[in-house]
Subunit: 369 residues, 3 copies
């Protein structure tokens, strides 16, 4: 049974200090202590359905090779050879028939990362193929998504994601399929995008189309502390978050009752925004590229039964959110500009910004501050 | 009564050491100790004639909002909201009917910078609009120009500009109006542009057109120490500094006697070059963008009576100086390249380079060196 | 009498640590301790045949002016004036009729670098033209190439190049002339290019065209320790390293016997790869531009007698090596990407990579490590 509350910001809560949005050293520390330590969403299981299928994921500065082995297990490797360090693979997606061969000297690895063959290396005293498997990193499949963790000794996924593990069952996300994807290059710090997602105080001003179909004062939060934050807002009865506010799509098979008139918004620290609609699911992956720049990958997922219909068209949902996304990125970029001023001082949070204060607390905790 | 002299460089005077032209740390220190401390010319009063009119000025990394309030007083604010730090305004010039509203959550400020309204903030314990006016900075109008000072406790303008306050009265610059503007992107340190302006030792070689109309050995200085440096040079009798050396424009109303055959050149540390001609005034604003890059805004001002004539054409003056400007920027860029060499060592100043030695002394004094 | 051996890598030899390929501080140290200390090939004597002819060379951040004086001696100067530091010359190649004049104030230098005239400087107390010659650097002509050394007190060329001085006599390189030149912009550390050149372990995989005409297991090294490394490989009898494997060109006049079926490959630390073919010579100059970027100038030289023939066409050799070059740059770029990963660890060298281990040793010695 979920608890709901409005989760107001505590008295005196203020925005973060300037350096968290502008300092390259803070950004480097975030990479080390957050992005290279936490579980990150990097793609979908259905992108590598068969043994030998692979996918490249760019995780900050790292190229990660996601491969399904012959037993059906998905694995993740740092994309470089153990011999001279050469990048193994440059195609974003593809299939390895048997093995992964380095393009420089043909050292050859199995789909489980083991070194199978290294030409002429038998002559080298003390050389043993067992000492040179690909550098692996942790990978988990959950709700149809691929999650990697680049830490040397990562926290188990089940422990890290415990509050979420069964929470999204009604949407059966494993069964959904990609309907559309848009990538955005946003000139703002990644935290400003999280903060923007965590409040609807701005909605009536910035998103006139959104508030027409989903009242900006509606809803409640059911997660208001820790790495996962969010709750629901109402959708007008019988409506949908699309350009017209209507849809011909049915609700997803498992979505029943009040969930048919709600949209659930969750931020999953540090790289996912998860938006669960009655008839589709939208996911933002956030990828920091610099202290003042973030790449956003926005994907829309639908029921394959709906997608199989001849009149299926995802664009009513895509265009609605593409407009809303761009409205948000614009104010995030304006905020990046302003917080970079020597005159910037932390400002006071409104009650509606309670989740921002919670996000900031979790963020500072992750940095050990 | 002005004193005049040739102001030769002292024996042994040498160019500045390399780091002043190439080191990013020196550049950061200049920003803090010079550009964020001194009075800077950022525009003209007539750009914001009415209450509510505004103008954006870019002062190094800072966006400054220049607004005329309803009482007619011009004011300057850092361009960011006190709530989340969002940039308030992005249009370079415009009009606020009543108030300045933040585009993110609609916090609203008066033209005097006071916070008028902040939605939902009354609910927040301890919140008082009086605590959150826009961050202001000092602004003065003088000779028709807008001057800002971003320091926390700026030196009063009248004290800083005491040697100049009544000096330019004959040109009645408040009455003049903009005839033309050209922006330049120069790949050289800002000090090389000041130094270039401060001597005519290079004129016979670089500016054959200029020396035809204004003898390069003529003239004298009347300011040769401190932040303001310069003096006059002769213009050929009956002539003007134009493409043809002639003009149909009359001298400016207040310019009489010998001033009708002189051009006065003054450098106003740290961002203005002021060139007073009998029939027009030219102003260079210098904006350092990096240790090796400077944006220059060059403006030509004329008597509005002359501008009202059907045959008024500023281009004879504009094209003459545009050519001369480009000749100067080219050698400044060559000098930036050379002083960046590991082989560069300070070189000796000629007598004609006395004002450069004075500029360097003032500059080092400003840095506390 | 030369000694030959296969020069296998010692047991346990490994690739360099990551920072040598990715760290900007290491790159700055390499500039200071290697490139600004060692003899570097910057061009050909025939580019400045006559007194007064000049050529600009870009040596990392430095512009160097190479001039032949009236006595026929080639000289090298840092390309800046001793007065205000202005770049003297921007044309890549040209001729000074008498003197080198600064474009800013016309200070004028002789072809030997002495200051001949400095306008108005006689008036300056204590000024003596003898104190302000151009900053010179060491220059030597050897085998038709121009070699500069920017160190304050350079090791004599004859001592530094002792192992090579008479080694290449048969190819009479002084007599050869440029047939073609291609510049490449390679996104890889300069050492990866040296290492790539030093082994043919990759040849069968990367260069199918090359190994068809020159067996990849053939040959032996005759220099396997120190700054100069290399040896020969076989060319198929009667063949040549061209697109077709054949040529109508005769062997170079001095190339006799077994040298007519060999290609000699030498790396000359730190900026030359020298490839001596029976019928032509190919030279790569390597110019580090950043820790992960190198400019390569590849030149092909031929016998002027052959070049004078009406059917002379260098493109069979040029296109063969242009293809091979691009194959190499590609894997060097892939290796730069991989060694930049946080997962990179040094890998084991194969026996065929003995010269790489020797190169790494010499490199570390140069850095005092």
């Amino acid at each position: 049974m979920l608890a709901f509350q409005k989760a107001a910001a505590p008295a005196g809560a203020q925005t973060l200090a300037q350096s968290f949005y502008t300092c390259a050293k803070v950004f480097a520390r975030e990479a080390e202590q957050i992005f290279y330590q936490q579980w990150l969403c990097v793609g979908r299981s259905e992108q590598i359905p068969q043994g030998g299928d692979y996918l490249l994921a760019q995780v900050l500065a790292e190229s990660i090779l996601l491969v399904r082995d012959k037993s059906g297990r998905a694995r993740a490797f740092f994309n470089l050879c153990r011999h001279r360090g050469t990048r193994l693979c440059t195609e974003v997606q593809g299939h390895f028939p048997q093995a992964i061969a380095c393009p420089y000297h043909a050292w050859s690895y199995g789909l489980d990362g083991s070194l199978l063959a290294a030409r002429h290396m038998r002559e080298v005293e003390g050389f043993d193929v067992a000492d040179y498997p690909l550098h692996a990193c942790a990978l988990v499949e959950w709700e149809g998504f691929l999650w990697v963790n680049l830490a040397g000794d990562p926290q188990p996924f089940a422990a890290a994601f415990a509050p979420l593990l069964e929470r999204f069952t009604p949407w059966k996300m494993t069964d959904l399929r990609l309907g559309h994807r848009i990538d955005y290059d946003v000139r703002a710090n990644w935290k400003l995008l999280f903060q923007n997602y965590a409040e609807c105080y701005h909605c009536s001003l910035i998103h006139p189309q959104l508030v027409k179909h989903s009242p900006d004062q509606s809803g409640c939060n059911d997660l208001w502390e820790g790495p996962f934050l969010g709750g629901y807002m109402d959708i007008n009865p019988g409506g949908s978050l699309t350009v017209t506010g209507q849809t011909t799509r049915s609700a997803l098979p498992g979505v029943q009752g009040e969930n048919r008139e709600r949209v659930y918004y969750y931020s999953l620290f540090p790289n996912v925004l998860l938006s669960l609609h009655p008839d589709y699911v939208m996911v933002h992956q956030l990828w920091p590229e610099a202290v003042d720049r973030t790449r956003v990958v926005c994907s829309w997922f639908f029921d394959p039964m709906a997608m199989a219909k001849p009149d299926f068209d995802p664009l009513d949902a895509v265009e609605f959110w593409d407009l809303t996304n761009r409205q948000d990125w614009h104010v995030c970029e304006l905020t990046q500009q302003g917080v970079s001023s020597r005159a910037y001082t932390p400002g006071p949070y409104a009650h509606q910004e309670g989740l921002l204060a919670a996000f900031d607390r979790e963020y500072l905790r992750m940095l050990g501050l």
